[in-house]
Subunit: 204 residues, 2 copies
Amino acid sequence: MQIKYPNGQKSKITQNETSQKKPKNLKKSHLGVSFEDAINESNKFYLENNRAVIYKKPTPIQIVKVEYPSRNKAKISEAYYKTPSTTDYNGIYRGKYIDFEAKSCHEKRFAFKNIYSHQIEHLRKIKEHGGISFLLIEFSIYNRVFIFPVESLLKYYELSLNGGEKSIPFEIFEREGYEVKIGFRPRLFYLDEIDTIYADFFNK
Amino acid sequence: MQIKYPNGQKSKITQNETSQKKPKNLKKSHLGVSFEDAINESNKFYLENNRAVIYKKPTPIQIVKVEYPSRNKAKISEAYYKTPSTTDYNGIYRGKYIDFEAKSCHEKRFAFKNIYSHQIEHLRKIKEHGGISFLLIEFSIYNRVFIFPVESLLKYYELSLNGGEKSIPFEIFEREGYEVKIGFRPRLFYLDEIDTIYADFFNK
């Protein structure tokens, strides 16, 4: 979940907004817990309240060696992290398939190198197949979380492939994203924003 | 995926149909590949043909120890298998959320001890939220594969909780399930059966 810092990619417009330095006193999140935990707790809350069934997919692991110290007990003694085929989260909400990638950004720009192109492609496919897909992004330095719809993500991604910016500045998320209310239960009221964004889609 | 043998659970009706012995020359599957591989290949085919976006979820692993033999290279040196929270497969098909558990059965009965109760509960929730959910089951000794809809699964599961049979005989899958055509590409034509079973649901 934690992302790397953009590699000094700067434009004239945004130069004074970006910083090469780490923000001081950088916490992983101002949510009280990590962004991932905040999402997982929210999904658990939604599940308990029977509002949605959304889970984080397990981290894909390449298992190389398994030992059996005793019968019926398998110990994995050599394994490696694998590149995920798809995104972090998926499930069902109001009868619709929902799918998103979650990113915690500690800078004032979100760089495309922090998301795999096949994940963006996956989000595009979900949209084409009639699902809801988006990027859920936390800007830890601002303590703000946004839903960034797949349409916007694709627009800037395609620009980046055609010589444009390799990152999206925070201001774009403010302008084109939908801010997620942060609270206690759930920590992230992200389904309320989904209701707003996809109101017409749900009523079809 | 491979399941254990039923623990001698027998009824008067089905006693002569069940066997405590392993079938001779037991192959993991007559599909040419394992049942899991057959499903994965089918999903890959459907994805390439842009018919559906369905993936197997990674196996959940509890990571205990990670070593860094070199920078940027993480080696997991102690980990254990975890109980999956949900089912094996999910995704989107014809705009609908689809979710199923896959089981390969090497006996003439499918015993409920081979599926977690929370997985059955999960399939029930998916149905209630407007998704498509089912058990995809291979009977390796017959070389036959069935979609067993969640409604049937729940019916027999509830009977089993109320003193009924703790397993479902093959004949019930023949009668209430939908047989999946086995071929080359895809190996399992399971979405064709979904089209049939859920024809009304898709047209709503």
